[in-house]
Symmetry: C2
Subunit: 220 residues, 2 copies
């Protein structure tokens, strides 16, 4: 797929418009016309770059994976030497991102999978890959923390990594229902507290005190 000089301005603009529109209306409710209007591109250009609306959906999930993957890869939370600190710093970053309009912080893959999981196996798989691969970037740090602090709970690093994503996805749903990010922030705070508690006995032995570090506003 040699990328030529002006390799499709239109494709990039459509994907960018897709991120916005899918997050606000979901995938099914986002029409091809709407996508084209928003991207200031014609329908011909749309079907030149994507053989169908479904193919666009798959490309949108992959685009989401790439852009968010790059964002998190270059974030500073990897800097901490302690693996548990890296996990907690990730949670703090996710909490800090819950700002501005709801459509600006919610997850394209999570939103899209809700109205496509039954009708489009291809989109479902692409969304699953996006979410699961992102979770996997956490898994190594969680596993390292378990090893370092000798935690032998009945839970696996991978299940905890996926749980963080479940909490975030659920927090987005509640934020949409309430039209307010506050409830999502509260939920992420509960998630942070959970991880602190999971590692608390071990870190106390080691003489660490991390509790309430990074804690901010707690409403109600």
């Amino acid at each position: 797929m040699a990328i030529t000089a002006a390799s499709s301005d239109a494709r990039a603009k459509l994907l960018s418009a897709g991120m916005r529109l899918i997050r606000t209306h979901g995938f099914t409710a986002t029409t091809v016309d709407e996508l084209c209007d928003d991207a200031r591109v014609t329908k011909g250009a749309f079907f030149h770059h994507f053989v169908s609306k479904e193919a666009f959906g798959v490309a949108a999930a992959e685009h989401w994976s790439l852009t968010t993957g790059a964002l998190f890869a270059r974030a500073q939370y990897h800097a901490a030497s302690d693996p548990l600190d890296r996990v907690l710093a990730y949670i703090d970053l996710r909490r800090a991102l819950l700002r501005g309009a709801i459509a600006d912080f919610t997850c394209v893959a999570g939103t899209m999978v809700q109205d496509t999981w039954e009708s489009s196996p291809a989109i479902r798989a692409a969304c699953d890959a996006s979410i699961s691969e992102h979770a996997q970037t956490l898994e190594a740090d969680i596993a390292a923390a378990k090893r370092k602090y000798g935690i032998a709970g009945a839970w696996s690093a991978s299940s905890l990594a996926l749980h963080t994503q479940a909490v975030l996805q659920g927090a987005f749903v509640l934020a949409k229902a309430k039209g307010d990010a506050a409830v999502a922030i509260d939920s992420v705070d509960h998630l942070r507290r959970y991880i602190e508690l999971l590692f608390k006995p071990a870190t106390l032995k080691t003489g660490r005190t991390r509790m309430d570090k990074g804690r901010r506003r707690m409403k109600r």
Copy 2:
């Protein structure tokens, strides 16, 4: 809204069809024709009972609230004398319900709000009411448990009640993405462990041992 003698067989059939269809396709992707076909009712009947598709959505959220409200009201988890036991029994019930087809255990309100929160304030509000009122039925037990065990965490009973709903909603999203309920069960297990840990110091003082009670399969 006086309920007349044979108060609309059609209305009930449409709402029942709506529960199924909204859970599988979402609200926007569910068409009025599909609803009518599934309920074996004509379009005339649909618009006789609901002034618009949006009004049907609001009615669907209210119907969901009523039916699930009744289900949980008559469940036995209220029986335990200890409030913490009641909260954990609720979690166990939610875990036990994660069986069969995905569309059979997911939440109508949570699914519907995802593709309507931006376009329909009325449906958004109805879904919020459904989720928030359900969370409130947990709040009293959580508050009682906090009081009984003298827990003074930086979290409120209401925020924890909403957090349980966020975890469940997120678990549904991941289950849809993976096409498998296992990931949702794992997440609910993490939620149960969190609540156990929140109350652990206090219950140990009191001589309770609840840990790992009710624990079942833990995959991976």
